[in-house]
Amino acid sequence: MRYLLSVILIALFSFLLSLYMSWWSIAVVAFCVNLWLVQKPVWAFVSGFVSILLLWGGLAWYISSANNDILAHKLSQLVLQKDSPALLIGVTALSGALVAGFAALSGALLGRLIFEKKPEAEG
């Protein structure tokens, strides 16, 4: 449950904060959510990673579909030297996911440090 909640909260607050703040607010969100929600570090990482993977990947896919992939075709060749809108969406999602994953992990590790709680089994 906590894992799912973490995924949802990170995605939600990342989206809202990014309306006004720089992209790295996803790191702040992932960090804070996992500081507050206690879960195993490995699950914290996975939740941050998956959350932004879905959010960024989903948004990029949605934007690109409405655009008939016009920009993605050009940009993927320019940036990745390969004509693949899907790959560009993947790289987009991955770059955000990595940051959010490690930020979530950091949050969880700090949480354990502060609250000195024994990690419970988590699912």
């Binding site: 720089s22 948004l59 920009l71 050009k74 770059s95 590790l109």
Partner: protein, 817 residues
């Protein structure tokens, strides 16, 4: 231990943010660049994006509506003229901001600020050319005139209204890629853009090359290789037209024979800065009602320029109390540049006249502070040019200005092994002028007199301005402020130590070549020499020969002309040059020396239709053959002379037609044997056949594939995915359809001046500069197919109603900011 894990994880997180959010390791800040909410995905516009919007902006005086048709062409309907220009500036910025700013950076020599020190020499070249100096002159004139001052101010305010509303995420893609942000627009930048067009069309001269050639061959041979008039010339002003005697008669200096035509004022091994593309040119013509099916005049124009994305043109209609003009505008400049209004239509081709000369001067010492002129040491004006460099410290260049103009080449530029003397540049673009006033009046012209009145404000680059009116007039006027030269003046570098070699006067406008309603029922121009030898002034230039012949030949035969006929003529791929040169090549080839595939290829050339259609292999073979033949003829001599200029194709062909038995240049001076014409024509063909085998294997022998018509992004090869390549377009050099690899008809327009104006238009681009917009390259395929769109010309007072796809409303902002 736990704290260590935390610290490691936190460090990784921070490192990722820095790496993915900056350019310290990656060429792009991947995460911020691609973030769906902050990055360039913003530019992936929904293909059905609506543009309807109401804007309230400070600086507007009244209300303006902009109706967009489905091609994204704005039709501005403004309460007053100023708002019209304001909104034009706003729309230029909204759809083409990066391009308009980048072009001005390039014009003024500031590219290093964007791309770093790779562009330093490019920038220095622009500074040495005096581009900023020229723009300052224009700005002073334009701001001294209330009409153009108001127009520029409003336009600039409109551009800046958009720039200041721009959120970071909205920054055009190229800014994100190159990592910089726009500056405010200024009137000076508009002036700089106008001067950049002058440079493009009148910023080149062969003086240095010809000087080298003269030093090697002597003046007489140069006159033979680079004569002033071709035998087969079909001039802009029909032969037989009587020109009045000249009112300005410039006198050659007494020393000319000894000092100018003979002595060496060596250009040395000087490497000139990049010159404008020699193919920059155009076609235009107007046919009178007597030759059309409808009885109303038709005007056509296609300016040939580098084909780029975003395109140099932005299509627009501007309806204000003072005007109702439709056509294309330059993002960066107010007004309609080529187009039509309620009553008239107008188009341009380059005059190709020489308005750029070089003078050898003598500095007192390396400080460049004084130079010798009219028996005394005179002070130069020194401009210290600072070239700022992205990621580096500024480079400074000292440019000395003389009575002639800036010293373009000296011991410190472009390289140390320059010619003996520093060279000062005399360029018409440096004289005070106000071309904006010309367009101000032209856009508002109602008749022939208004057109002529507007023309007086046009100084440089001199153009063949074609005109047609609903009243039934057609006319063409080669207009510009052109120097009256004595015979031979300015062909070579001139002595610059006294005033005797300076330009002595200007040809009065009334004596510029022009004609109104000629008997032949049409006027035309295609960058050829404007007049035959009876024109009383010496007018060197870099003219084309064959397009003019092709156009005049066809127009004189045509009658009952329709828009469809004009469309066909604009797309005509018939090659008059090949018609003239192919028999010469075929006459001299030694067919007995050919074998195997060579025989087959020669048959292809012989059977070629003389049309440069995309499927023609003969066109490719002829093209390569003539090129190789030309090189074999001239390279040996010109390399020895150190000159890069070969005689023009037309001149060369005519030399051969006149005298082919004793053509001495056929001999390769680097070999002991004496080669004949037959030897080199045959050798060139054998080389061609060899190359043809490999082209055939790559399927590149067909003309269309061989030419590979492409429209590149302004950043060129580095932004290849933003280009359109492999377009199936025929035509080529010397052909009415002048489309070469990435150069050619940058705007094609047919205006039928019936009661209700009917215009057909296209350009190889699209209205939006955003590579993520469907409007980025929307017109390219239509253009490539040789088709044109029917333009929607909104009559004054007509309700835009259902024809508008979107509407933007601009309202004045009452509140004080």
């Amino acid at each position: 231990m736990k704290i260590v894990y935390f610290c490691i994880s936190l460090l990784i997180t921070l490192a990722l943010i820095i790496i993915l959010g900056s350019r310290c390791l990656l060429p792009l800040p991947l995460a911020s660049f691609l973030s769906p909410q902050e990055g360039v995905w913003y530019h992936a516009e929904p293909v059905d994006k609506k543009l309807d919007e109401t804007l309230s902006l400070p600086g507007l005086k009244g209300n303006t509506n902009v109706y967009f048709d489905e091609r994204l062409v704005p039709h501005i309907v403004a309460d007053n003229d100023e708002d019209g220009y304001f909104v034009q500036g706003y729309l230029h910025a909204r759809f083409r901001l990066w391009q308009m700013e980048f072009q001005v950076y390039a014009a003024g020599g500031r590219v290093s600020e964007i791309v770093g020190d790779v562009a330093v020499n490019f920038d220095k070249g622009k500074r040495r050319l005096g581009m900023v100096y020229a723009a300052e002159k224009l700005l002073k004139e334009a701001e001294a005139n209330p009409d153009t001052k108001t127009m520029m101010d409003a336009y600039t305010a409109g551009v800046n209204a958009y720039i200041s509303s721009l959120r970071n995420v909205e920054l055009p893609l190229e800014y994100r890629l190159l990592n910089y942000a726009p500056e405010p627009w200024t009137n000076f930048k508009t002036a700089l853009f106008v001067k950049e067009m002058t440079r493009t069309l009148a910023g080149g001269a062969d003086d240095l090359e010809l000087t080298k050639a003269r030093d090697f061959f002597g003046d007489e041979v140069v006159q033979l290789l680079f004569p002033q008039i071709e035998d087969s010339l079909s001039p802009v002003i029909p032969k037989g037209t009587i020109f009045p005697p000249p009112t300005v008669v410039p006198q050659p200096p007494a020393s000319a024979d000894a000092l100018y035509f003979k002595t060496t004022l060596a250009a040395g091994a000087l490497q000139e800065i990049q010159k404008p593309n020699k193919d920059n040119g155009s076609n235009n013509w107007a046919v009178s009602g007597s030759k059309t099916a409808s009885g109303a005049p038709i005007l056509c124009n296609d300016p040939h320029l580098n084909l780029t994305l975003p395109a140099i043109w932005f299509e627009i209609q501007m309806t204000t109390p003072g005007m109702n003009a439709y056509g294309v505008s330059f993002p960066g400049t107010p007004g309609v540049i080529i187009g039509f209004n309620d009553s008239i239509a107008f188009g341009f081709t380059n005059s190709s006249r020489d308005v750029m000369d070089y003078y050898a001067i003598r500095f007192k010492d390396d400080s460049k502070k004084q130079y010798f002129f009219d028996s005394t040491w005179r002070d130069t004006d020194i401009r210290i040019e600072e070239i700022k460099i992205s990621g580096g410290s500024s480079v400074f260049d000292t440019v000395a200005y003389t009575v002639f103009g800036p010293v373009i080449y000296d011991a410190s530029f472009p390289a140390t092994e320059n010619g003996k003397e520093p060279l000062a540049l005399r360029w018409k673009a440096h004289d005070p002028s106000n071309e904006l006033l010309f367009w101000y009046h032209l856009d508002r012209a109602n008749n022939y007199d208004d057109y002529v009145n507007a023309l007086q404000y046009f100084t440089a680059p001199a153009q063949n301005v074609v005109f047609a009116s609903k009243a039934g007039d057609i006319a063409i006027w080669q207009q510009g402020e052109l120097p009256a030269r004595w015979k031979g003046q300015g062909l070579y570098i001139m002595p610059g130590e006294d005033s005797s070699y300076m330009w002595q006067g200007v040809i009065p406008m009334e004596e510029n070549p022009h004609i109104r309603n000629p008997e032949q029922g049409f006027v035309s121009s295609a960058n050829q020499r404007p007049a035959d030898s009876t024109y009383p002034y010496f007018i060197p230039g870099s003219y084309d020969l064959y397009r003019g012949i092709a156009i005049n030949r066809q127009l004189s035969e045509m009658n009952n002309i329709t828009v469809e006929d004009m469309l066909q003529l604009m797309n005509d791929n018939y090659n008059v040059f090949a018609e003239t040169a192919r028999p010469v090549l075929l006459k001299h080839i030694d067919e007995t020396a050919l074998q195997g595939r060579e025989v087959v290829y020669l048959e292809m050339v012989k059977n070629w239709s003389l049309k440069n259609d995309i499927s023609e292999k003969g066109a490719t073979l002829f093209n390569i053959w003539f090129d190789k033949f030309k090189k074999q003829t001239w390279k040996d001599e010109m390399d020895k002379a150190g000159a890069k200029a070969y005689p023009a194709d037309g001149i060369f062909t005519e030399m051969l037609l006149r005298n082919d038995t004793s053509f001495a240049f056929a001999d390769n001076i680097n070999t002991p044997e004496t080669e004949t014409l037959q030897d080199i024509v045959t050798a060139a063909f054998k080389e061609t056949a060899l190359l043809a085998d490999s082209l055939e294997a790559e399927k590149k022998l067909e003309w269309g594939n061989n030419k590979n018509t492409s429209v590149y992004h302004l950043l060129g090869d580095r932004a290849l995915p933003l280009a359109r390549t492999g377009l199936p377009v025929g035509g080529g050099k010397h052909i009415i359809n002048a489309t070469t690899h990435s150069h050619g008809p940058s705007w094609k327009m047919i205006v039928h001046l019936k009661e209700e104006t009917e215009a057909w238009v296209v350009y190889p681009g699209g209205q939006s500069g955003n590579p993520g917009s469907p409007h980025y390259d929307r017109f390219v395929d239509k253009w490539a197919a040789g088709e044109q769109y029917r333009a929607w010309f909104l009559e004054k007072g007509e309700s835009a109603g259902v024809k508008a796809a979107w509407k933007m409303s601009f309202q004045k902002n009452e509140s004080i900011r």
